[in-house]
């Protein structure tokens, strides 16, 4: 298991056949999750709760991945992407259910990126994760809410 703080933290499972990885399959993914958790952890002080579930996989340049999330109006969210070397710079962006980009507050680190926003409408949103600089590497996307 990854180094999650809580005592009963369990392995993550991604359940749909289309998921990029059926759980944290590699050490790289575990490390990518740690990067994402470090960013998300900073928002916990503001009352954000980090979901236990994550989406992991491998990012390649010019081959972004799109992940569906379902969010509720009135809640605030931070969607967080973490990656490991040899990825150098990654980006996360958010789109509504029609595919139009949503305005977010961005956080940009080296191999981490986060987008904060409060949806005006409940329903599906799409998170696009992109490798901007560097070579293919494992990624982990998770989100927190309050």
């Amino acid at each position: 298991m990854s180094g999650r703080i809580l005592p009963a933290l369990f392995a993550i499972v991604t359940l749909a056949a289309a998921a990029p990885a059926p759980g944290l399959a590699t050490d790289e993914e575990v490390a990518a999750r740690q990067v994402a958790l470090e960013v998300a952890g900073a928002f916990q002080n503001d009352g954000f709760k980090i979901r236990d579930g994550v989406c992991t996989g491998r990012l390649e340049k010019d081959v972004p991945k799109v992940i569906q999330v379902n969010l509720f109006a009135g809640n605030e969210y931070w969607l967080v992407l973490g990656a490991v070397a040899p990825a150098k710079k990654v980006q996360i962006s958010v789109f509504d259910e029609t595919g139009q980009p949503v305005e977010t507050e961005p956080y940009q680190g080296d191999a981490a990126s986060a987008a904060g926003f409060s949806p005006g409408v409940s329903g599906p949103y799409y998170v696009k994760v992109t490798l901007l600089e560097g070579d293919p590497a494992a990624f982990c996307m998770l989100y927190s809410y309050k």
Binding site: L6, P7, A8, L9, F10, I12, V13, T14, L15, A16, A18, A19, P20, E38, G41, A42, F43, N45, D46, K49, I50, R51, D52, G53, C55, K65, V66, I67, Q68, V69, N70, F72, A73, G74, N75, E76, S93, F95, E97, T98, G99, P101, E103, T104, E105, P106, Y107, Q108, G109, D110, G116, S118, V121, S122, G123, P124, Y126, Y143, Y145, K146
Partner: protein, 270 residues
Amino acid sequence: MIWLSRPLAGGLAILCLCTTAVAETPALTAAELAAAVRSDAVSIPTPGELMAALDKQGKPDWSARIRPPISTNYSRRAQMALNLGGLIADGYIAVEAEDAQQVKNLGRDILEIAKALGVPKEIRDRGKSLTEKGEEKRWDVLREELEATQNEVKQSLAANKDQPLIDLVTVGGWVRGTEVVSASIDEKYTEAGARLLRQPAIAESLTGRLKALPEKLRDDPVVKVVTEKLDEIARLVAFPRDGAPSADAVKQLHALAAELMKIISTKEKK
């Protein structure tokens, strides 16, 4: 925008903090939307997320939504899985109601059904922390424990190639969450509250998964009813983005979800 004024905590090195250039960002194509990854772990919200949204509109009386104990002794695995999902959703309700005894009771019931489904002892042992955290009244930790417990159980089922049962756990939890939230909105109807019920993608995904179950599971009498009723529920939570269901529609949604949970939890008479 609230985000621009909130201080970033934790001493992170912020390399760039600026508003996103939405105008420069190309829209997703239809192909990208269709190919999007859909995974329970991030695509299906926890009941806690929905409850958090509802709390912002005036904290409902969550203790009034606690239901009487249900059986934990079912003969068919499909019904066990549906009820396991419902019990985990009950756990979120008990946490919102800050009812330590309920959390402990539910922790015990969840473990009983998990055992009957063949979830290994080591995982069930870790699930005991629900009971311990309930005793300590650590509500925030308990929310995370509930999701982690669910993920762990699902992972165990996946390892046993029981994906269909995972789908049923998800359906049971979602229906129970919909039941309690629609009850609260029905009780004090507002358009803003009713808009929270919009979950078209989840409903579509779950109805699709039920229809794709192996024939043996599809023929299970409870699964048959769930499949039929979920279609009706899906229609009620798939209203337009700029709309809100009427008070009557919310009442209808609650009645359907409540009826379905009753069917799911009713033990077959021999």
